[in-house]
């Protein structure tokens, strides 16, 4: 397909002689700096309140870095081309008839394949570990309806409007809906799952950090969707034991 001279950027010895190399590098540095600043100076991630969050965030950083590189690459060539190859007013001439370049086309097919393969393998590992069931875990039944949550603790025989769990013990939510689809989401846990009428969906997480986090219904469920909230209260083991005792007493 190639008509005309090969692209000077391809032959490696030509890269350093190309008049485009140095300005391209300079622009890439500027854009990299802006991209890196955007990624680093802004506090992007919510708190990590579960083991799941740590793993997800590691994978997220890999994605941020690799997609940041792609973004810098594309934007650099875009900005440089607009600046450098802009036709002067009245210039009616045409560009070189370059129809393609096989080596380049193969390269920009293979390199993304490699990056994506790494990503997929990593993602599978994270998924498997995030969803691995611990031997000792606390089952909690979740009931969702328009527009509220109820959490029932079979081990304690009590129910509550907030989800209260201790750190260090895996929680297994068994979720049911009585009307439409809802979604249990806690950004600080990085986990989320629909609550679907007719089936029981499960969600597990390993809380690591005491605190109060929002439980957000994340699936449009009707007019009260935006107020269908509850709280996830992660307590230290001692606090949790105290709360459990109180709750049991109150239930009696």
């Amino acid at each position: 397909m190639t008509i005309g001279p090969p692209d000077p950027l391809i032959a490696s010895h030509a890269v350093f002689r190309s008049p485009h190399t140095i300005p391209l590098i300079l622009i890439a540095l500027v854009i990299s700096a802006i991209t890196a600043a955007t990624a680093l100076l802004i506090d992007w991630f919510p708190e990590q309140a579960a083991e799941q969050a740590v793993r997800v965030d590691q994978l997220m950083w890999f994605l941020v870095i690799s997609s940041g590189a792609v973004f810098v690459l594309v934007t650099t060539f875009l900005v440089y081309s607009v600046w450098k190859f802009r036709a002067a007013p009245g210039d009616e001439s045409e560009g070189p008839p370059i129809h393609g370049n096989h080596r380049l086309e193969v390269a920009w097919t293979i390199i993304p394949v490699v990056l994506l393969t790494v990503m997929v393998v990593w993602a599978i590992l994270v998924t498997n570990r995030n969803e691995a069931l611990a031997g000792d875990r606390q089952p909690i039944d979740v009931k969702a309806w328009q527009f509220a949550w109820e959490f029932t603790y079979p081990e304690l025989g009590v129910s509550s409007g907030d989800l209260v769990v201790p750190v260090g013990r895996q929680v297994e939510l068994r979720m049911r809906s009585t009307d439409v689809i809802h979604n249990f989401a806690v950004p600080e846990l990085r986990v989320k799952r629909d609550v679907v009428p007719g089936i029981t969906t499960k969600l597990i997480f390993d809380p690591t950090r005491p605190g109060i986090y929002p439980v957000i219904c994340s699936e449009l469920c009707g007019v009260g969707h935006s107020v269908m909230r509850a709280r996830l209260v992660v307590k230290s083991k001692a606090d949790y034991a105290a709360w459990a005792a109180d709750a049991r007493a109150a239930a009696k």
């Binding site: 793993r55 997220m60 560009g95 129809h99 920009w108 990085r190």
Partner: protein
């Protein structure tokens, strides 16, 4: 109904109707719409009464029937079915009637029109109307979200606003906007006069309108508020607005499917000669692929909405978990369409971007085949990723990994496209006109949207980010920064061609920069909101997101200002912009080689495609040869005067099918023909005779043709003739493959390679080539002979006697056997006679004279009658031996022949065997 009065014996109902005032159609449409609504309600009422329902009044059932019937009533009333209606009731229809074609004034745009250019503009006006409506709703959403808590609208209205916003933008803007742009540009780019099915094309447009109106008015009737995804069972709880959405989707979907079929057939069958698939502009690739997606995918969303509707009004339990329904199934069916729909909304934009970037970079598209193949790859893969929308939906867990895999694989062909576009602008001569700005801006925003798509394709990340504002950011980066930017690029790009006017470049640039800055300022921060956990589709949100949301709401106002500038620019420029030249962007594809706006049927003569569409910078290269009656603006790319078609044929040169092909080509008006008959080692004189017939027929029809017999091979003949005079195309006639020595040698491909111009093959059956062509220019000689048949002397005589004129022959062998003994010998005599006749016919055919014949039961007088009536012979030749003393017979034949001259040939042959009897 319209009345019609044929005049001049020609059915002119269409011409009559076109003078009917505009409001007549709309009056009829309003009447039929209202009547259909009443009929719909009445049918439901009668049905419920007849089946003894306790509850006669069930509003949603009535509304569903009414909405469906009114939609149909509208498209019937506006006139989409007039043609078929006439045909059905037996009124006269005229397929050649173009009265509903083209637009001579603005009124033509407000009624059914079958011209793809008018329909394209109708589409664009309709879709931008809905764009504005959807945009108003978006701004209302942003107004509500400017601060946490409830300010302007209640929760139900808010849910309705974003639902209808998305619905309008997807079904009434992005998808049909691409249909509109391609409707206008694509047939011209392919060198076609129109779409394959112009009436279906009109129907597609007019089906869209009731669909859009239903979605638009749904907030008035109790909003449709389950989101554009309309997940069951929430949608099942919906009210009248939801009913309107579910019916509206059917109309929009049907419109979409009909358009897609139309594009497919147009692209496959209506490309100009020489337009191979690898010479198609990439927009054609994109639309062909998209159309495939639409045809396969759209029935699924139609089905999903019917199922929800039936759950609501018929009492089915598809999605009722309490009664054995499956809630997750809705999402599978829905996304099986709606993920491919993402590519339906993106691939045509890729096509537009490829056109714009190449034109304004003055460079060939980089990696044409890679872009074309990646388009197809995306479409194929696009059907295998739907469940990535459902990673948290409670579907089977194992399904998530294969869906993640297919999803990230799509990033590869998408990346190939982006890199190829960068390769296209690299070292180009960039002209930063408005369409180019949108295309470059598109690359920037689409890369962000594509990369955030990779995040969402990655399972653990998707679990975190789905249903948050990250999704809102992502879809707007791909649909707005992607699709809408390409729609703006295409609108500005083809505006001069559509309207014949130039838009204001200054306002176009303002529109771009306001939108570009406003867009990024609006949607980029939403990534952060999403990662932080702000859910989508909420009217109220956490205090800590307040400042950012306020900034976003203000930023979105920039896009509103940009849109107002755009609308002003379009309207004012359309009315009074400076006249557009034919080719303001110096583009290469065919729409730029015709006038702005194009003539009624786009081309004065069928164009010839001679190269790729992006041959910028290639000296002397051209995409197509366009013929125009005189030089009125096409520049150096438009041809003036007649061009030559070289016709290559030997035994088939005088076949009626070839001659009628040439007649049709000549009717386009700008061709002359050079007939080349290579003898290929055969009989030179026979070739001359055939050529003589062909030239006589063509000359008689007033067709400019000349011919030459070349001794030697066809390839050598083509080279010799082309060396003397260049031709634009070769028509090559052969016998059917398998029966053709030329096809055995792969002659079509070899001629194409040798000549390097388009080659069209015409297939001629062997029998047809030998049968006499019907033309007053060819003498038809009826030879009445019996014993003399098969005699070499007769054949020699025939050849010599008529060598000066083009002729065909019919051999009539009268078998006047009677008297005793007839029964035993009859069959033998007949067989012998047929053998003699066949020998003669074959000998004549060998000599290049078209001949056929028959055995006539009867005497020579009967044969003369057959010659006159069945064969319209213009000369009768009676052949006999000297000894036959045929004077009496001659007299009788002469009498029977009437005005036809009869000649008598005495065959003088010593070799002739005495007859058996």
């Amino acid at each position: 109904m319209a009345t019609h009065s044929p005049t001049h014996g020609h059915p002119v109902h269409g011409h009559h109707e076109s003078t009917k005032p505009l409001f007549a159609w709309w009056k009829r449409a309003i009447v039929t719409t209202a009547a259909a609504g009443l009929i719909g309600m009445a049918l439901v009422f009668i049905g419920r009464l007849a089946f003894g329902f306790d509850d006669l009044w069930e509003p949603q059932v009535y509304y569903a029937a009414m909405a469906s019937a009114m939609g149909l009533g509208f498209i019937v009333g506006i006139g989409c079915f007039d043609y078929w209606g006439r045909y059905l009731v037996g009124k006269q229809v005229d397929p050649e009637d173009h009265s509903l074609h083209g637009a001579s004034n603005w009124r033509a745009y407000f009624r059914v029109n079958t011209d793809h250019k008018v329909i394209g503009i109708q589409y664009m006006v309709v879709v931008f109307f809905f764009f504005v409506m959807g945009g108003i709703m978006a701004e209302m959403v942003r107004a509500e979200l400017a601060q946490p808590g409830q300010q302007f609208v209640d929760g139900e209205t808010y849910n309705g606003l974003f639902s209808v916003h998305a619905t309008l933008m997807i079904f009434l803007f992005v998808i049909p906007a691409f249909a509109g742009l391609a409707n206008f540009a694509l047939p011209i780019m392919l060198g076609a006069k129109d779409m394959a099915f112009p009436r279906l094309n009109a129907l597609s447009l007019w089906m869209l309108i009731p669909g859009g109106v239903m979605m638009l008015i749904s907030p008035i009737f109790g909003a449709f508020s389950a989101g554009w995804t309309a997940y069951a069972p929430l949608a099942v709880q919906g009210g009248t607005g939801t009913t309107l959405f579910e019916i509206g989707v059917q109309f929009a979907g049907a419109s979409s499917i009909a358009t897609a079929l139309n594009f497919l057939v147009t692209i496959i069958t209506m490309r100009a000669p020489g337009m191979t698939v690898w010479r198609m502009p990439l927009l054609a690739w994109a639309n062909a692929t998209t159309s495939g997606l639409v045809v396969f995918g759209t029935p699924f969303i139609a089905g999903s909405q019917f199922m929800t509707l039936f759950d609501r009004i018929v009492g089915t339990n598809f999605f009722n978990a309490g009664n054995g329904g499956d809630v997750v199934m809705y999402q599978h069916v829905f996304w099986f369409y709606s993920h491919p729909a993402v590519y339906i909304m993106m691939l045509p934009g890729f096509g537009i971007i490829s056109e714009v970037l190449a034109t304004f970079s003055r460079k060939p598209i980089f990696g044409y085949r890679a872009i074309a193949f990646s388009t197809v790859a995306i479409a194929v893969l696009g059907f295998g990723v739907w469940a990535h929308h459902m990673f948290v939906s409670g579907m089977a867990d194992w399904l998530r990994l294969p869906m993640m895999l297919t999803t990230v694989i799509i990033a590869v062909p998408t990346g190939v496209k982006v890199f190829s576009w960068l390769g296209t602008i690299w070292q180009g001569k960039l002209h930063l006109k408005t369409p180019m700005l949108w295309a470059l801006g598109f690359i920037f925003t689409f890369v962000i949207g594509g990369l955030s798509g990779v995040f969402l394709g990655t399972l653990p990340i998707d679990i975190q980010l789905t249903d948050t504002y990250f999704i809102v950011a992502h879809i707007h980066y791909v649909f707005f920064g992607g699709s809408v930017f390409t729609i703006f690029a295409g609108t500005y790009y083809w505006f001069p061609k559509m309207t014949g006017r130039m838009y204001s470049e200054k306002l176009g640039q303002w529109h771009f920069w306001l939108t570009f800055v406003g867009f990024n300022a609006t949607f980029f921060p939403m990534h952060w909101l999403g990662i932080q956990g702000m859910p989508r589709r909420v009217a109220d949100y956490d205090e800590r997101f307040a400042n950012l949301n306020l900034i976003i709401s203000f930023a979105s106002g920039l896009m509103t200002i940009g849109t107002l500038i755009f609308l002003y620019n379009m309207v004012v420029s359309w009315r009074s912009g400076p006249r557009a030249p034919w080719n303001p962007w110096r583009g290469r594809s065919m729409e730029w080689l015709v006038s702005s706006p194009p003539s009624l049927f786009n081309f004065d003569a069928t164009p010839q495609v001679v190269g790729g569409p992006y041959q910028y910078g290639v000296p002397g290269a051209r995409h197509a040869v366009i013929f125009a009656p005189d030089q009125i603006g096409g520049g150096e790319l438009t041809e003036v005067g007649k061009r030559t078609i070289l016709v290559l044929a030997n035994e088939t040169i005088a076949a009626s099918s070839l001659l009628s092909h040439l007649r049709n080509r000549s009717a386009e008006g700008f061709w002359r023909f050079t007939l080349v008959v290579p003898t290929d080692g055969g009989n030179h004189r026979a070739a001359e005779r055939r050529l003589q017939v062909a030239l006589a027929v063509l000359a008689n029809d007033g067709i400019d043709a000349s011919g030459v017999v070349e001794d030697g091979s066809p390839l050598a003949a083509v080279e010799r003739v082309l060396a003397e005079e260049p031709a634009q195309e070769i028509v090559l006639a052969t016998f059917p493959t398998g029966d053709s020595g030329w096809m055995d040698q792969d002659l079509v491909d070899r001629v194409r390679k040798t000549a390097n111009i388009a080659v069209t093959r015409v297939v001629v059956r062997r029998e047809e080539a030998r049968e006499a062509v019907v033309s007053s220019a060819v003498r038809r000689i009826a030879v009445i002979a019996n014993d003399t048949l098969g005699d070499a002397a007769l054949i020699e005589t025939l050849r010599d006697r008529y060598d000066a004129s083009a002729l065909s022959a019919v051999i009539l062998c009268p078998l006047s056997i009677d008297g005793p003994g007839w029964t035993d010998d009859a069959e033998r005599v007949r067989v012998e006679a047929m053998g003699r006749a066949r020998t003669t016919i074959e000998a004549l055919q060998e000599s290049g004279i078209q001949a056929r014949g028959e055995v006539v039961d009867g005497d020579p007088v009967a044969a003369a009658a057959v010659a006159r009536t069945a064969y319209s012979a213009d000369t009768i030749l009676l052949a006999s031996y000297q000894r036959d003393r045929a004077d009496q017979v001659l007299a009788a034949v002469t009498q029977a022949a009437g005005t036809i001259p009869v000649e008598h040939v005495i065959v003088d042959s010593e070799a002739a065997a005495p007859p058996a009897s």
